[in-house]
């Protein structure tokens, strides 16, 4: 499957989304990313039992942080997909890109 | 007139006022209060009724105040924040007003450690500053702290205490300013023995223009003996008794010490009367109410005005 997805999405691989911490998401925003999303396994299908559920809660926490400082919480998202769903991966990349484009560039980048 | 109490009338008329003090008994014996009232009636403009002073359990200030009213003496209800939370504070204010109380002195209260129940839990939900604000809000806005509209606002003449002799001295005048901002109509000070320091504090208050907006009454307590003077100097926190006072009392025979103490008190009243910004004196003759008539007489403050 040679599926194309927007080139502006930079993929950082982790063994499990349970490894993704709050600080990682914040760092991406701090360094100027317009948006960050976590692509995890389907709920209930985590190889480490609950990694993706933990990631979901951390994404929620970061959304709250952004809200508290007056930024759009939608710049951070959690998506779930199975590793066999290539087309879904590409679709999510497009969906998130569209959503972020609609929000415009991150004020962190444009104001500093 | 904010409350229309006798004290407010005398002060507003620009007459040098005098208030007395009545410590309720450690028991339910109303006669003690009636007895004290006899010496105070007609000799002072209003009488402070202490609220479990030094955290020693006594008949309630409200109870004793009502007895004074029955005796034809206007009470100044002292209320501390030590023993009641904001619910009890507000409720007691409403009850007091309904029963005829028109003056209140708002205090934080001595810590219970000094009293006869050092094991008691303390409350201090509000402090004196917030207590003043509470009474003012209830009087002027007719609401409770939470904004609830009252059916009948308690029109109190609001008093507070000030101690120019506590530390740090530089801050004392600002604390007074805060109390005035909070809503105090009159101020009664701690007993004055160090007139020099008191004068310095009054000068500061005058310089800041504070005494144009409040009636300041200087506190005077006659010494009964050298022993009392030494006790006040060494064991009462925030009390400033210069050595000259003690020496002066020591300089007369033991039997004349009380007379000398009264003489000092009268001299202090005369000095206060000359001071700019002083609206009156608060005479605290502690467990010595029977000497109040002669002190007021000697101070040349009789008869008291009837307004």
């Amino acid at each position: 499957m040679r599926l194309s997805y927007p080139t502006n999405v930079k993929v950082i691989q982790v063994p499990c989304t349970g490894r993704v911490d709050i600080i990682h998401l914040l760092k991406a925003i701090e360094e100027g990313a317009d948006g960050v999303y976590v692509a995890g396994c389907l709920e209930g299908e985590c190889h480490y039992l609950a990694g993706n559920l933990k990631a979901k809660k951390r994404v929620k926490y970061v959304k709250k942080v952004l809200e508290e400082i007056g930024m759009e919480p939608d710049r951070v998202e959690m998506f779930n997909m199975s590793s066999s769903e290539g087309p879904r991966f590409a679709a999510v990349a497009r969906e998130m890109t569209e959503k972020i484009k609609a929000l415009g560039p991150s004020p962190v980048r444009s104001n500093s | 007139m904010k409350a229309g109490s006798n004290l407010e009338k005398v002060l507003t008329a620009g007459i040098f006022a005098i208030t007395g003090e009545c410590g309720p008994p450690r028991g339910a014996n109303a006669e003690v209060v009636r007895e004290k009232a006899k010496f105070l009636k007609g000799n002072v403009d209003s009488v402070n009724v202490t609220d479990n002073q030094t955290a020693v359990v006594r008949m309630s200030s409200l109870g004793a105040s009502l007895i004074l009213i029955q005796e034809g003496v206007e009470p100044n209800l002292q209320m501390t924040a030590r023993d009641r939370n904001r619910i009890a504070v507000q409720s007691d204010i409403l009850g007091a007003y309904a029963l005829g109380i028109r003056n209140m002195l708002c205090l934080s209260g001595d810590h219970q450690k000094f009293g006869d129940h050092p094991e008691a839990k303390n409350v201090f939900d509000l402090d004196s500053m917030q207590l003043i604000q509470t009474v003012k809000k209830m009087r002027d806005e007719g609401t409770l702290i939470n904004g609830h509209k009252l059916d009948g606002a308690p029109k109190m003449f609001i008093g507070c205490a000030a101690n120019p002799f506590a530390d740090p001295f530089e801050f004392r005048v600002y604390r007074l300013a805060n109390k005035i901002d909070a809503g105090a109509d009159f101020v009664q000070t701690q007993c004055i023995y160090n007139l020099e320091r008191f004068r310095k504090w009054v000068d500061q208050a005058n310089d800041m223009g504070l005494l144009e907006n409040v009636f300041l009454m200087g506190g005077v307590t006659p010494m009964k003996s050298v022993g009392m003077a030494k006790y006040m100097k060494n064991s009462v926190p925030g009390m400033d008794v210069p050595d000259e006072i003690i020496k002066r009392l020591q300089g007369v025979p033991k039997g004349d010490q009380a007379k000398e103490g009264i003489k000092i008190a009268v001299e202090t009243i005369h000095q206060l009367r000359e001071m700019k910004g002083i609206a009156g004196v608060h005479l605290m003759a502690i467990e010595w109410e029977e000497r109040v008539p002669e002190i007021v007489e000697m101070a040349g403050m009789l008869p008291r005005p009837v307004l």
Partner: protein, 222 residues
């Protein structure tokens, strides 16, 4: 442990709005264990502050430091060479931390980043509950190992009151009636008799009511 909660970010940002260089100081004690003031949380707070200030085009330098403890002078002392490099410090230790920092560094502007809540323990991961109020005279052994001072809303020594319902307190269905627990426990142990005794009035002078407290151990003093 002492349990706290982070202050709203808006409050913290407001405290330091005039500063350009700030040190966030964490503590490896209680607040690390309850995930509110350790090294990790220092990083999160520092990053959040930087994001917010970059967003507003008002950049700030936020450095991070986590001390072994903020309640011991020897660790607080470790900041002595760098304190003057900063306009302000935000301590995310319990309320002791910012005070020890401010006492040790009288010229520094010190701000608290968390609200200290209580002495308690973890009921499960992410849930903490109050267990002790530091009354200075422990009596949990009289109450089946439960403290009615800290856990009864009215601190009753003779409960449960008339507001106890279905094991819950009248103030909220989320609050256990500790007296319900006490009765249950003592009933199970066959010690209900002990609840038929009247407890004398408590001496609160050993608690905060007696004034600020201090513990002195002569055997440990240097």
């Amino acid at each position: 442990m002492i349990v706290g909660e982070r202050k709203p970010l808006g409050d913290i940002l407001d405290m330091i709005k005039d500063y350009k260089k700030v040190l966030v100081v964490g503590c490896k004690g209680c607040v690390t264990v309850c995930n509110v003031g350790g090294e990790k949380e220092v990083g999160i707070l520092a990053s959040s502050i930087r994001i917010s200030r970059k967003k507003d085009g008002n950049e700030i330098t936020v450095d991070e430091r986590t001390l072994e403890r903020q309640c011991d002078p020897e660790y607080v002392d470790q900041l002595k060479d760098i304190v003057s490099d900063y306009d302000a410090m935000v301590s995310i230790a319990c309320g002791v931390g910012p005070q020890f920092l401010a006492e040790r560094y009288p010229d520094a502007a010190v701000y608290p980043g968390i609200n200290t809540q209580f002495m308690g323990g973890a009921l499960e991961h992410g849930v903490w509950a109050e267990r002790c109020q530091g009354c200075g005279a422990c009596l949990v052994h009289n109450f089946g190992g439960h403290c009615p001072i800290a856990r009864c809303s009215k601190s009753l020594l003779h409960g449960p009151c008339g507001g106890s319902s279905g094991g819950k307190c009248e103030i909220s269905k989320d609050v256990d009636c500790v007296w319900h627990l006490i009765v249950e426990k003592l009933a199970k142990q066959g010690k209900m008799d002990s609840l038929r005794k009247l407890v004398p009035t408590k001496n609160w002078s050993t608690s905060r009511d007696g004034g600020p407290r201090k513990v002195v151990r002569e055997d440990l003093k240097l």
